[in-house]
Each structure stands twice: as C-alpha cells, then as structure tokens.
C-alpha cells in the first residue's frame, strides 16, 4: 500500500518586480495531504488547474521530496529508500514526452529496461510482451518520431510497465487522444488494476473517465484535500438535483395543476408547443417512476422522456463554484 501522511510541498518562486528586481515568494503547492492507494485499486486525484495534482504525483513517484509529511510504499520510505521505491513504481504522463523519438519503440523499451536492471532474455521477453499488449508489435522497429500520437501514448504505457511496477501513476494519460484510442487505454488501465492487481493513481480532466475507472476519488483544492469518497458518494453528497424532461400530448391547465400537486418536493415547469407540452422537472431524487405513474393515472401519452442524473462533473463544478464564492 502507498500511504502519504500529511505531505506538503513548498516552493520558493521568484516574482519579477521590475526589470532588475525580483522578490522571493513562498508557494504552498500541497498542504497536509493524506492519501492511500491499495493494490488492485484505481484512485482518482482531481482538482482544478494548479490544485497540486502533478506535484503530488511527483512526490509519490520520488521525483520530488516532500517538504513535510511522509510517504511509504509497502513500508519503505519514499525519500530514505528512494532507490527501492523507484523499482516498485512508475509514471505515465499524457502528451508526447518521456520517450526518445530517434529510437524505435523496441529500442526505447530496451533502454529503459536496462535502467531498471533488466537484461538478456528476460528483457527481450518483457519487450515482446509489452509491445504485444499495447498493440505495437508491427511498429516495434519504427522510430518513435514516425508514430502517431496514440501510438506514442501506447508506447508510454509500455515504458511505464517495463519494470512491472506494483504502483502506477497516470497523469492525464488520455490527454489529446482520439475517442477510440482513449477507450482502448481505459480498458487497459482497468485490466492492469483488476487483473494484474496494480495500484493506480489517476489524474484526468475527463471526469467521465474518472467516474468510469476510479474506485475512490480525492478532490484537492489549492493543495488541500476537500473531499475523499467513491465517485457515486461524492456526486450524491454534492449534487442533489435530478433533471427530467418529458414531452407529452398537450396538457390542459387542470392536468398541469394536478401534476404539480402530485409531484411533491419537485419543481415543475411547462412549455407549450403546438401539438405537445414539454415538462421540466427538477428534484432532489430520481422522480421518473412517480412521473410515469402520474401520466398513466391522467391518461397522458409520453412522447419522449429524458433523465439527467447528477454526474461527477456536476459535483466538481458545484465544488469549484462553492470555493470561488
């Protein structure tokens, strides 16, 4: 298990005052964050830009030392035992960095494999296996500079797995990828966690991705933790509103009145069209069943029904709004 206890990161930044003068400023990027990642679990780390996600990942992956607090990986201290910890973790970032473009896919993996202490047949087998699972076997001898963005990202995943890490940090792994490639990568991430039992920390701006993949989510704001739970619980605790839009046959005023009376706790709005009425309902619960019952009772024919459940995205937006207010 990875366990971060009260970790913080303080940067000293020079701010230009004039052409010749600059002033040192202390920036607290992460502040007293507690976080755990278990084997076989996908944990999301969310926050707006500048929330401290990347700094947190860099501390967990040993690239940066925390200014305060401790990080342990299976009981090993990430600062004192950095070499052993490095062998157990890896990081995959979105974009096209972290690879040597002049080398082929296989050469990249061979280089990184050796840096992780692999060699000989074991390394060649691992390269073959990884190129196969990321679907780059046919492009293994092609220089990376000729790869498409999706191919580079898949090779990044192979690079991130070269040392068979127990814990993997994914920093915006689907950034800028086409929908089919992103979907394929999400499938791969799920397999890594659920079948290969790897502990994964994921940051992403695509909240549907987080909702689909993550078992638990940490939401941070200006470096501090503001919420930690399952995506479902976070959504349920932050966003209460369900929105239902129903298009029915034209409703008379008495029927509209009875509808309003029958849907207790809901807010209703009606829009009259030439041959239909559109009803908009907002409720702190899912009112679909109740609405259908009422429509049946009033002999109203439903032409279209659309339910919008609260999503994690709504929760994040609500939290951001709350924080900026």
């Amino acid at each position: 298990m990875i366990e971060a206890k009260g970790i913080g990161k303080v940067y000293s930044v020079k701010k230009k005052k004039s052409f010749f003068r600059s002033e040192k400023q202390i920036v607290r990027a992460v502040n007293g964050l507690n976080l755990t990642i278990n084997e076989g679990e996908i944990v999301g780390l969310l926050g707006l830009n500048g929330a401290g996600k990347t700094t947190t990942i860099k501390m967990l992956s040993t690239l940066l030392n925390p200014s305060e607090g401790t990080i342990t990986v299976d009981g090993l201290d990430a600062v004192q035992d950095a070499i052993q910890v490095k062998a157990m973790v890896n990081m995959i970032a979105g974009g096209e960095r972290m690879l040597y473009w002049r080398l082929t896919g296989a050469e990249n993996l061979r280089y990184f494999g050796k840096l992780y202490g692999l060699s000989g047949n074991a390394l060649e087998k691992r390269i073959k296996y990884l190129l196969d699972i990321v679907g780059l076997t046919n492009a293994s001898d092609t220089p990376v500079e000729l790869y498409s963005k999706g191919m580079k990202q898949r090779l990044q995943i192979a690079r991130g797995l070269i040392n068979d890490p127990k814990y993997l940090f994914l920093d915006e792994p689907t950034l800028g990828l086409d929908a089919p490639v992103a979907k394929q990568l999400r499938g791969m991430v799920k397999t890594l966690a659920k079948s290969d039992r790897k502990g994964i920390l994921l940051t992403s701006h695509y909240l549907e991705e987080v909702e689909e993949l993550c078992d638990r989510v940490y939401i941070i704001e200006k470096g501090s933790l503001i919420l930690h739970d399952t995506p479902e619980n976070i959504t349920a605790s932050v966003v209460k509103d369900y929105h239902v839009t129903i298009e029915t046959s034209v409703l008379s005023a008495p029927v509209q009145y009875r509808m309003k009376q029958g849907l207790i706790g809901c807010t209703l709005g009606f829009t009259e069209n030439a041959d239909s009425t559109v009803m908009q309902i907002k409720a702190p619960f899912d009112p679909t069943a109740q609405i259908i019952d009422l429509c049946v009772k009033e002999s109203v024919s439903i032409q279209k029904l659309e339910l919008k459940r609260p999503r994690l995205e709504d929760a994040i937006l609500a939290l951001a709004k709350e924080k900026s207010a």
Partner: protein, 269 residues
Amino acid sequence: MWLPFSATFQRNYLVMKRAFPWSFFLGHILSGFYIIIFAYLSYFFVFKKDLSSSFSTYAGTNDYLSYVILGGLLYSFSVSLLMIASRALITELREGTLESLLLTPSSRKGYFLGYVAQGLMRVCVEFAVITSAGYFFGLHLHHINWPGVLSVLVILVAATFSQALVLGSFMLYFRDTYITQNTLFVMMGLVCSITFPASFLPDGLRWIGNIMPLTYGVDALRMVWIEGKPLVETIQLLWKMIILGLVYFPIGSFLIKRMEKYVLEKHFG
C-alpha cells in the same frame, strides 16, 4: 552501474548513427583548425619565425608550431568532452525525457560514463582529423612517446569529466547552455596555455588556469609529444590533473543531484 553505462552508450550510438551531430563535429574541427591556421600565418608572415627568448623559457621548446597545434588539438578535445558530459541532463530536460530517466533507480555515474564513452568515439575522430591537418602545418610526429600520450589523455579525460559535472550543474541552474559553456571555453582558450604560455599573463588571471585540468594536460602532452620525454617527467602535472579531478568530482556529483531536484521543482512543479 554497468547496465546504465551500456544502455546509455548504446542509446547514444544509435541516435548518433541516425542523426549525426554534424554541426558540433565540424564546429570543433574548425575551431582546432583555425588555431592551427592562425598560428601558421602569424609565425611565418607576422613575426617571421622570430621568437622571443622568453617564449622558449616559458614554453620549454622552440617548436612554436607544434606548441600551438598541440594546444589547439587538446583545446578542441577538451571542449568536445566538456560539452558532451555537461549537456547530457539539460538535453534530457529539453527533449522531455528527464523525468523518465530520473524515475529509474539507475546509477547516474553509469549514465554519465556511458554518455562520455560514446561521445569519445566522435571526439577521437575529431582528434585524428585535427592531428592530420596539424601535420601539414608543421606538427612534429617523430619523437612522440605514445604510451605517455595515451596516459596523459586518459587522465585528462577523467579530470575533464569531473569538471563537466560542475559545468553541467550550472547549465541546469541557469537553464542555459550557450553563455555558460562559452564563457568557460573562452576563458580556457585564454588562460590554459593554448596558443602562448600562461606565464605571459598577469598574475590576476593566471590563477584561473591553475584550476583548469586542461592547463596541466596541455603542458604534459607537449612534453611527451614534442620532446618525447618519459612519462615520469610529467608526473607533477599528472598529479595536479588527478587532484583537480578528485576535487571536481564530489562537487559536481553533489551539485548535479541538487540540480536534478531543482529543475523539477522550478520548471515542472
């Protein structure tokens, strides 16, 4: 340390094969060549072979052309080597591969040695080309003590490598290669007895030459190359190079480690 060494050597060899750094290669050969041409033209057409007696006293030889050509040869050798080792991490930073390298538990010494060992392949070709050019302009090749030359070069490589670690950490700090390296190279050209003995310089400048391994390397090489003297006579110069290497190495290793964290905090955080 062996695996990072061989991995980095192989990686750089493949990159060099696919994209040979012609600009560096030609640039270093040309800078060595300009020193030779300048010395040749000055010697024959400006001071018409008339050397002052103080030159012979300070330089320990009357063979001005061999003196300058060997200076140019070793200056180019040293500059190439410094550039190869000191630019390693800043190149990773610029190409976006620094993080993936620092994530690995590999030995940084193995990495740097692999970088330098592969770079030496190119430096040796440059050395051979400048030596051949120098031969046509008056570089003597007859009294050479070859084992002595080899020993001087090996010690110079080690000391220069240590100096490059310090230079590399400055480059990372300033995130600059051009001004940082060229300031050092211009200074080396002036104070390391490349085209004239450093003894001609005022005392205020001469001390800078004393902290450059090249100063002792070039003097030692001239002794074993021009005069064919036995290695034992250069022992003091070799010791000075070794001591400088031993001083620069821990300082460079410490600073590089600090700078690795610094750049990640400063430029990615």
